[in-house]
Symmetry: C2
Subunit: 362 residues, 2 copies
């Protein structure tokens, strides 16, 4: 899952709190940079995806937004040079808590500095520098990636002409903080976590599974689950008399998906990225949301939210869109009626493709 | 927390699946049974409360619905004889997994039969029998208690003249099942659980704390938490550099409340009651909701739901109210605009008192 391209900074990288020596930044690209170097779409990801947003010649496996990025797709790689960054702090190529600290020769683990969304955004700026790109046409992200895109637009205002933030927010609210804090606690309470010092081949599997299941519960909507599962019982096994066997399809669905995730994501990286979302607050950059958003210098912005998202409620996207209107000449706000909740941007392609295509053809 | 009154059946008690020998049923009462024995309000509780609904001479401690039950309160104990039943399977007086099995002299633990909401309702009927009451004026419950009241009205149709169900439903949907299943898994995955065989003084504290925190997250609403906590940081300690210390007030609130719960509730009892809610489906009694509700013979019903409840969404109460209208002469349905989510009936007294008072004075 490591991104195809990487480079290592020859020196130090200042984080919001702390410094990294010679960090690596990983990314993937699609399409061609034009001669004016003006057609870049810089994409930041959510917490768990890698930089593999779409298939390519070098890696033909389907990416996590395969339907959105490619030739003649809404983000048309015949026209745009798409760069997707693996988040600093993640475990798919960029430096994070699972990487080796050059100062000690050991993994960083909990010695990694407290991670902020702003640091991930700064990593994106490093990738642009590395590619010799002064300004991206568009900086884009969904979920945590939307926070990162917003941070990028605030902190590097001259480096993006357009901003797209999907199912995201200008700050985390207590409900989402409580959910994520509990997910982190599930991992920390797993005795296998060992205060972050688990051996790479014996991670805190139980805690990660529980955390992932809670994540999945919050990524979709109750309505979708009612449609998908109803009260269907598990059919591939006889009814059990063990009082806590799996009774319902929804339970076995969660089990199967959590198992898949746990093998691929490092627990400490998960903890750092999860907390970065809680700590993010655009108002840190100016005292009020209005002040903070006045830093944004993009010419055009699109904010998308989904009615059934209860992790990043659509009111948060509306707040962001309204805030940006004072500053940005053209702000498009879409409130989509998807029933797949927070994850809609990954699955409800029939609703997302048209609005993305319209924006990127404009 | 054990209820003040108890009796032990002299014989066996048939459950939906399984049989108990000589179970104990615990309850408390307020007010006086009238000479016609016709003024009883039979109350079933949610998962975690005891039968101590209100203070009394025998136990002056405040009850969990102190503002609702008492002299000149909405359920006026000058007029009604209020009986609150400790649920079968719970740990506050009635027989449950933490009780001694007379056949073995050991705690039941996981040898307790699979518990169904219908069994809890049947326990309520035993309490009425014990008190020599043929028909309750009203059977009432909120949350799991509302499911139980409905089961009681379906299975013992001649034993209640009125039905009140609050923030409840005719069956659990996959979203709530997923939440509760995950709560149970948190407890089961705690190594201290030991497949249910933990010593009474060394319960699975970690699992119970995690489960309770998730419960609290789902009992309230995101809007209420935004109002209460905003992004307030924990103030009673210096900012910590430990990457996963507690940052936000909402985290320390959850911590404090979970700690309180864990000391008082038995883990196996929690597992049984939680799963009973998942298994409840009124349509088991007739094949369709319409068929099932046609069993109900009450003269009057009140169904109350709350806009911000996402564990028992208000659409479920609406479905129940509409279903009952075919059968019941007078159905009152209230959709209240409380922002405290599922727990509103416990805390938003200004909204709940008037509708309850109107119903019980009518």
């Amino acid at each position: 899952m490591s991104a195809l391209r990487q480079f290592t900074l020859d020196g130090s990288f200042a984080m919001k709190r702390g410094t990294l020596q010679r960090p690596t930044f990983a990314y993937e690209t699609w399409g061609q940079l034009n001669t004016e170097r003006s057609n870049t779409v810089l994409v930041f990801t959510g917490l768990s995806p890698s930089a593999h947003i779409a298939s390519s010649e070098d890696d033909p496996a389907n990416g996590w937004w395969e339907d959105m990025v490619g030739p003649d797709k809404p983000i048309d790689t015949g026209r745009y040079f798409v760069v997707c960054v693996n988040s600093l702090g993640s475990c798919f190529g960029s430096t994070g808590p699972a990487s080796i600290d050059p100062a000690t020769g050991e993994r960083y683990r909990l010695h990694f500095p407290v991670l902020h969304v702003e640091d991930i955004a700064a990593g994106g700026a490093e990738v642009l520098d590395h590619l010799g790109i002064q300004q991206a046409d568009t900086v884009l992200g969904a979920s945590m990636g939307g926070m990162t895109a917003l941070a990028f637009a605030m902190l590097h205002p001259e480096r993006a002409r357009q901003l797209v933030a999907i199912s995201s927010s200008a700050r985390s609210l207590p409900f989402s903080i409580a959910i994520r804090s509990l997910q982190r606690e599930m991992i920390r309470r797993d005795t296998a976590w060992q205060n972050g010092n688990y051996p790479p081949d014996a991670p805190p599997v139980t805690g990660m599974q529980l955390a992932r299941k809670l994540g999945m519960i919050t990524y979709r909507s109750a309505d979708e689950w009612a449609e998908r599962f109803g009260r269907e019982r598990v059919t591939d096994r006889p009814p059990v008399d063990h009082p806590f066997g799996m009774d319902f399809e929804v339970e076995s669905y969660l089990e199967a998906h959590a198992a898949k995730f746990v093998g691929s994501f490092d627990a400490n990286c998960y903890l750092y990225l999860s907390r970065a979302m809680d700590l993010f607050d655009a108002t840190d950059h100016g005292g009020s949301l209005e002040q903070a958003l006045s830093r944004v210098q993009v010419k055009r912005a699109m904010i998308i939210g989904v009615d059934t998202d209860f992790l990043f409620p659509v009111e948060q996207q509306e707040e962001l869109a309204i805030g940006l209107q004072k500053q940005v000449a053209e702000v498009v706000f879409h409130r989509l009626a998807s029933i797949q909740g927070h994850d809609s941007f990954l699955v409800d392609m029939d609703r997302f493709r048209p609005v993305m295509a319209r924006f990127f053809s404009g």
